[in-house]
Symmetry: D2
Subunit: 182 residues, 4 copies
């Protein structure tokens, strides 16, 4: 936030340069939202869970959920919708939950972590929601694949091992929240 | 349950005669579900609440919510869907919530009541859900009117006074649950 | 409910004879409460879960949670407290949760079950709560043992296999609800 | 974060200078926790709500709740406990809730606000919890008064008007969450 210290007018308030964001991430908890996209049947039972399959900078593949930062002056709901559209496309027809209360709050810390959840870039406080989607979904370019798994598949040891930073927990918590009986 | 005492085979297990139901209601808490139908915008904010406007046996008009008994061997979700279709029609396209946890449990007692909620027919334990609907709704025959009110209208003293048995509380709790800021 | 059919005054309204309860259980969903007793540390993290270890009529041992029926005209909270005191003793100092909303609703059906949860005596709709206890607990006479397990122990395959009727799911859901990261 | 741009070692990582915090508050949503302290009876019903009565820089009195920022690398629970102890003293014996899910998320924006909640210093994303306290509470020096009000008093128009920035909503939502029937 270098030059900001003199408090000159800012042509772009609410935006951080890459460098300033890098620094902020080492000084403040960053607000995130995470969405577990689900397909529901007519009775509201979860039939499928959407997961992203992507690669990190080293080319290692891993699974993840819809996730992203809340911007300055952006509402939680607007951030949720923005990240869902970014990751699932604009035809996903997500049904954002009527209640603003997340089913859990995931706290990611730089390693070593007090919570078991790790994000080496930052301390993130992430509000997690189960989001039914009823439309057509298509993963964005940089996510290699969007796959829909049954709850049973999503809880399999094989799939759970493909998440990073403890995010497999989020899947388990989401399924417990929706009352899935394994 | 008169004749059942001899435990003869029952041609219709799981169904109670009117008289037996009358008696059961004076001996056991009865499981109910209640649904607050809502219209949501693209961000998940509640824009309208659906309310039924009906009349009791004496011709007195009052407002109420979608409500009904859970039958023997019926799931909560099946009962919710059945009562929503009964009261809002089969084209309502309700989105039953992914979580089985109600936003509140309303306990109706014969007067005088410990909870402030009254149902003179019975002790009812009612699981209450906010249910987004996106289709066409039409009140069933014996409900005179289905009206969609804004949250502000629904909380007005005038509308709140038109509920019976304390059910206006359910509207207030539902709106608080969805984070409505008055 | 045999004699009740003539609607003579009832010296003991709100109580069912054993036989009438037997019949009601085959005709109506029965309201239950279940409590998962937990020990919390100063920050509210669950350190231990209380489980009952008991035997069925055939002498088979199994684990279970605090559980029981809600009586006619009894509030959910009064039923919770009554069953906790019955199973953990009167010195347990349970802290009933401020919200009436259960963390899940467990639906037990006679076999075969739509939900995976089974109770061969009845269709039970059970409101489940996590209840912190801070006092001295001692199992009642007919429960052989009250044991306190860590979340990790409670989730072990060995312990999970010792529950009946799918109640091990309740433990998993309760731990997911409290944010336990395994 | 001026000097940080050169990424020299930081003697005090995780702390922001007053000036840097001032700037961050204009660029990033800030993570807050808010606690509504309550007294519960043996059945878990809320009998009293604790409110702080304080004055702003201009000497205007207003009511508020326990509230404060989550620090870098601090858990939500640790922040909650720290702010409760700061505002209610070290003998309050708060019982932090077993679930990490807040009953609501309050989003405060600099005026004009999309949510109706206002904080002219910043965009705050605040996780709100109902926290039972069983010990002795005493307001810290700079809060003039800690008062315990019944739910009915807390919802009175007079008391509701004494909050700033829309925080009276939090009281209403908290009481709806605990099932208070007015």
């Amino acid at each position: 936030m270098g030059g900001m210290a003199v408090r000159t007018p800012d042509p772009n308030p609410g935006w951080l340069s890459e460098e300033d964001l890098y620094e902020a991430r080492r000084r403040l908890p960053i607000v995130y939202v995470e969405a577990i996209p689900v397909r529901l049947d007519a009775l509201g039972y979860v039939t499928e869970i959407g997961m992203l399959y992507t690669a990190d900078d080293d080319g290692q593949f891993f699974r993840t959920v819809v996730s992203g930062r809340v911007m300055y002056r952006e509402t939680i709901r607007a951030a949720l919708l923005r990240h869902i559209e970014k990751d699932l496309g604009s035809l996903a027809l997500p049904q954002l939950p009527p209640s603003p209360a997340p089913f859990t709050v995931a706290e990611y810390f730089p390693y070593p972590s007090e919570t078991g959840l790790v994000d080496d870039r930052q301390h993130a406080v992430s509000l997690a929601y189960v989001v039914p989607v009823s439309g057509e979904c298509s993963a964005r370019q940089d996510a290699l694949e969007l796959s829909w798994l049954t709850p049973e598949q999503a809880l399999s040891a094989e799939v759970q091992a493909e998440f990073l930073g403890g995010r497999e927990q989020l899947i388990r918590q989401a399924l417990a929240h929706v009352g899935y009986i394994g």
